[in-house]
C-alpha cells in the first residue's frame, strides 16, 4: 500500500508505480473535508503533467502481440466513452466557469486545461496504440465514435444540453446545480472512476499498456481535484439554499432513468470483470459521494440506485 502523500507528490515516472486503488482512496480522502477552490488550484499547479512525455512504445507491442482480440474489443469499447468524454467536458466546461466566485473561476480554468490534456492523452493512445486513422483530433474522434455506448451518449448528451441551458444564464443557481450533478457527481464521480478502476486494474494485473496506465492514473489523480471541487460546489449550494437539493434529485432521477439502456454487450469478463462486479462498483462510487458530502436522497431514488444496471457491461 502506497502512502497517500506518495499519490499526491509523484511525478509522471512515479505514477507508473502507483496502485489504482491507492489513487481512488486519494480521490475520496478529502471528500469529508472538501478543500477550498484556491487549495485545489495550488494542488493543480504542483500536479500538472506533460501528456507528451508519455511513452507508448511498449503499449504498441502489448496491443498487437500480447492482448487477445476479445480484450482489445472490450478495452476499446469501454475507453472510447472517455475518448469522447474528455473532449465533451473540455468543450462544455467553459460555460460553467462563467458563473460562481472568482476563486471558482480561477480553479475552473485549471480543470478545463486538465480536460484538454486528457483529450490529447486519448488522442495519442487511439492514434499511436490502437492505430485509428486521422490527421486531426476530430478525425480520430470520428473513427472511435462507433465504439461509444449509450452509457456515455446519454449522460454526455445531457451535459451538452444542460450547458446550452446554462448559457442562457450562467449564474442561475438551479441550472448550475443540475449541470453540476450530471458532470461532477455522475460523469466524474461514478462513470469516470468506474472506467478507471476497470481498465487500470486490468493493465496492472496483466502488466500491459504501461503508457496508458501512467497517463490514465495521472488522469485519475486529476479527477480527485475535479470530484472534490464538484462535491464542494454541490454541498455549498445546498447549504446556501436547501431547495436546490430538489435539483440534485431531479437530475439523478433522469440519469438513473436512462441507466441500463445498452444496445450492445462488452465482454468485460475478458478484462477480469463480471457484470455484477461492475454494478457494485458503480453503486459504491455513487454512495461514497452522496454519503461523504451529506446529500440525502429520497426512497424512490434509493430504489433506482439499487437497480443500477451494469450497463458498462452491456446490461
Amino acid at each position: 500500500m502506497t502512502s497517500l502523500s506518495d499519490v499526491a507528490d509523484s511525478d509522471l515516472r512515479g505514477i507508473r508505480d502507483l496502485d489504482i486503488d491507492d489513487v481512488l482512496a486519494y480521490v475520496h480522502r478529502d471528500l469529508k473535508r472538501l478543500p477550498g477552490y484556491t487549495e485545489l488550484y495550488k494542488r493543480y499547479l504542483r500536479q500538472r503533467w506533460d501528456v507528451y512525455e508519455l511513452d507508448f512504445s511498449q503499449d504498441v507491442v502489448d496491443w498487437r502481440e500480447r492482448m487477445t482480440q476479445e480484450e482489445r474489443d472490450a478495452f476499446v469499447g469501454i475507453s472510447a466513452g472517455f475518448h469522447h468524454g474528455e473532449r465533451q467536458v473540455e468543450v462544455e466546461l467553459p460555460v460553467f466557469m462563467l458563473g460562481g466566485s472568482e476563486e471558482s473561476k480561477i480553479y475552473m480554468s485549471s480543470q478545463i486545461e486538465d480536460e484538454a490534456r486528457h483529450t490529447v492523452f486519448f488522442d495519442r493512445f487511439y492514434r499511436e496504440v490502437v492505430g485509428m486513422p486521422g490527421d486531426s483530433v476530430q478525425d480520430v474522434l470520428d473513427a472511435s465514435f462507433e465504439h461509444v455506448s449509450e452509457t456515455f451518449v446519454g449522460p454526455f448528451g445531457l451535459l451538452a444540453y444542460q450547458a446550452d441551458e446554462l448559457r442562457k444564464d450562467p449564474e442561475d443557481p438551479a441550472a448550475r446545480v443540475r449541470y453540476g450533478t450530471t458532470y461532477f457527481l455522475w460523469i466524474e464521480g461514478v462513470l469516470a472512476l468506474s472506467v478507471m478502476k476497470i481498465t487500470l486494474t486490468y493493465c496492472r494485473e496483466r502488466g500491459f499498456l504501461p503508457g496508458y496506465y501512467t497517463g490514465f492514473t495521472a488522469t485519475c489523480r486529476d479527477e480527485a481535484r475535479h470530484v472534490q471541487f464538484g462535491m464542494r460546489f454541490l454541498r455549498d449550494s445546498v447549504q446556501e439554499d436547501p431547495r436546490l437539493l430538489l435539483q440534485i434529485h431531479e437530475t439523478l432521477r433522469t440519469i438513473l432513468a436512462i441507466n441500463g439502456a445498452a444496445s450492445r454487450r462488452l465482454a468485460l469478463e475478458s478484462l477480469g470483470w463480471t457484470p455484477e462486479e461492475v454494478r457494485r462498483l458503480m453503486i459504491r462510487q455513487l454512495h461514497m459521494k452522496l454519503t461523504d458530502v451529506g446529500i440525502a436522497i429520497p426512497p424512490d431514488i434509493q430504489d433506482m440506485v439499487a437497480r443500477i444496471e451494469p450497463e458498462l457491461a452491456g446490461g
Partner: protein, 134 residues
C-alpha cells in the same frame, strides 16, 4: 419524396409509429425503448434552422397520433432545431446519437431533464425518420 413536405411528414409519422427495425442491438435495449414509449405523451417539433419549417409529431399514450408541418412550433413541448447540413448528414447515415451528443440538434424549448428521460427512444425515432427515402 422531398423531406419536410406534407407527404414526407405523414410517412415520418407512420415510420416512427411503427418503430425502428430491431436488429443488431440487445433485446434489453429494445425493452428499455418499449418502457420509455409506453404511455408516452408529448409533442416534438423538429425544425430546420434555415427554412424555419418544423415537423410536429404528436405522441399520445405511446402512439404517434399526428404529424404536421408548421412555421409556428409554440404548441410543442419540445422544440429542437438543426441546420439543413445536419439534416442532410442524418439522411446520409450520420449517427443520431452523435448528433445529440455533439448538440447539433439543439433543444430550443422544453425541459431538458424530462426530455432526456426518453432520450434513446427519441434517438431511435430520429434514426427512423432520417432513413426515410427522399
Amino acid at each position: 419524396m422531398r423531406s419536410f413536405t406534407p407527404e414526407w411528414a405523414q410517412a415520418a409519422r407512420a415510420a416512427v409509429d411503427a418503430g425502428p427495425t430491431r436488429d443488431g442491438k440487445l433485446p434489453s435495449y429494445w425493452n428499455w425503448i418499449d418502457r420509455a414509449r409506453a404511455g408516452y405523451t408529448a409533442v416534438w417539433a423538429l425544425g430546420v434552422r434555415e427554412s424555419g419549417v418544423y415537423l410536429v409529431l404528436t405522441w399520445k399514450d405511446g402512439t404517434c397520433a399526428a404529424a404536421e408541418l408548421t412555421s409556428d412550433p409554440s404548441a410543442a413541448d419540445y422544440v429542437l432545431v438543426a441546420s439543413q447540413a445536419t439534416w442532410d448528414e442524418l439522411r446520409a447515415g450520420a449517427d443520431p446519437g452523435r448528433v445529440v451528443m455533439y448538440r447539433q440538434l439543439r433543444l430550443e424549448r422544453g425541459d431538458v431533464l424530462t426530455f432526456f428521460r426518453v432520450i434513446y427512444f427519441f434517438i431511435e425515432s430520429l434514426a427512423t425518420l432520417s432513413r426515410l427515402e427522399t
